[in-house]
Assembly symmetry: C2
Homo-oligomer: 395 residues x 2
Amino acid sequence: MFQIFSLKNGLDNVKGFYSQGINAGLKKDKNDIAFIYSEEECDVSACFTSNIFQAAPIKHFKKYPKDFKTNFILINSKNANAMTGSKGVEDIEEILQNLNQYNPNIKNPIMSSTGVIGYRLPKQTIINSFKKFDFQKKDSNGTAQAIMTTDTFKKEIAFEVKLENGKSFNIAAICKGAGMINPAMATMLCFIITDANIPKKDMDTFLKDAVKDSFNTISVDGDTSTNDTVLLFSNKKSGVYEKNAFYEALHLLTKELSMQILKDGEGATKVVAFEVKNAKTYEDAKKAAFALSNSLLVKTALFGEDPNWGRIASTIGASQIECDEEKLTIKYDNIIVYGNGTKQMNKELEEKAYKIMKQDSFKISCNLNMGSQTYTAYGCDLSYKYVQINAEYRS
Amino acid sequence: MFQIFSLKNGLDNVKGFYSQGINAGLKKDKNDIAFIYSEEECDVSACFTSNIFQAAPIKHFKKYPKDFKTNFILINSKNANAMTGSKGVEDIEEILQNLNQYNPNIKNPIMSSTGVIGYRLPKQTIINSFKKFDFQKKDSNGTAQAIMTTDTFKKEIAFEVKLENGKSFNIAAICKGAGMINPAMATMLCFIITDANIPKKDMDTFLKDAVKDSFNTISVDGDTSTNDTVLLFSNKKSGVYEKNAFYEALHLLTKELSMQILKDGEGATKVVAFEVKNAKTYEDAKKAAFALSNSLLVKTALFGEDPNWGRIASTIGASQIECDEEKLTIKYDNIIVYGNGTKQMNKELEEKAYKIMKQDSFKISCNLNMGSQTYTAYGCDLSYKYVQINAEYRS
């Protein structure tokens, strides 16, 4: 058995890792450049966006040989370095070449970017900022702030994982993401570091699995970005590892971060779990659950706090899965609003449903009664604020 | 050759057809019940929603034998009679049974509904309103008003089609639809009537074709309703028909009505054509075009009048079609903003792009240069007003 303890100060808890966020002048007065550095070289596992147009930092990462080791990642916000062609990749190479004069220990540096699409990186501004780097700094707070775009709060997390023999390893992460959030990775960056003595093979398998169960279940607006990246670095420094314990801690960590992203969904006022139960196939359950979490009519009804279950039913029917209106049941938390082919709400139940909708988070559960497959997608409401944020972003 | 003339007063132009809109008390002071009636029995062709949960009026229609004839449709707004199970269909049968005591000439009456999902029809209120019906009335205006929900203006249209021999037939329609609008039919009802002497076979083929090229190319919010219906009635009363002329007039009529629906998209301030050119397959072109017209990030950028083409590129990449960022060209009307793998905008072109975005309608054209297939989807922007309308609808 093992125990998982939550720790403050995110990345600062992991042995041998250093990080810092600074202002390089890409943004006014806010941190916009950050790094994460390990004295030891690290194994690194990656999950990237499913968008066909992958941003330059992802193309650059993929130029390294399979299973390469690195000990440094440079991260910038404000500019996504996406749709910048081969020049975008050359820019990264030129920028990273300048690092060794400040720290000769850096090996195979990589980069990650988030921000507006279609502009070349301001190379010299970024290179000029390297002189501010302190490679012995533990500054998880500043690092988490530097990678924010429309995020309204920084996202960091850390766990100590204590094994039965008393030994322990740590795992920590920062992430960003508030809009352009959709399954198959979102405009989100997440950097996970650990001192666990985990084999590279487990890293790859477990990360893929954890991303599937966390970041890939959420959606803010159904738009999948060019830059989505989840990276897991391990420098093995604790010398400690236990398979189940690590698996559990990684799942907990990514699930918690994905919920933080959703809570920070642009203009979102509430987080809703859309459970589709007893579908004929897993694909049907998933398709219907995401149809619900991405429907504008469902999202605006959530914002209006209106238990308008007709929109839930209609969206399931429109999702083209196998279903039958006589078999469908719809629940808001524990209140059945539709079943046996007809509305189930009287005045009293409707009052209760209205109360449920006023909560910050709740569950809408649709039992299809067609089979045994279940999927839960997580979404948020659509408010005036979302429109404002996204009509004004960039300008 | 033939000529098509636009006429005022919609349905009133077609020989032998009568229509009226009245207030039955479903809404306060507004028309909420309407009928269209023909002395002669009509052939009728239908296109219905692709939503798996079809509303009761659609199920009722389908109970008639194939190629049945009818001369009467009853239409109500405020209540969709959807998700009401077998009772919903029985309600329609009971309501329609009462018509013959007011007009014994009515044969095989049908019904169509739009409004909130999940509530039984107020049967007696509707039946009580029949005494107000005047079956010799020509009241296209009142009829078009009675079928409105969140529509801000009534939608009616009429053409006279004049053949070379001097003879002519008329075709006219009313429709409604402002939100829940998506390809594969929208929350839209459209009733087309004609006195052309058209064979039933041509009616079926031509209607399917016209709907594909008009209503099925538009989307307001990507939500497909339970009630979408397009019906074409012909009483042959003019005795005149010419294949090409009818085909052309029907296409013109449905295209014009679909653009009216889009202009009336809930909260929409502009209509945009999303053209995807030179895709490898027709499916790719269509998928990418609809991805653009339904993307929240694209729709909010349109509302913000921001030529943020990065969101266009990202959405195409996210749509999972075959594409290559080095081959893609993006144009706003005649201004190239992206091509040859990089941004093409200087200060001057950006000024021009900003001006284009301020127009009520314009075209965003994406040339994939992967093949020869093209599709154009039509969409609108997403404004605060959309959120307001849909957060508050029903209450």
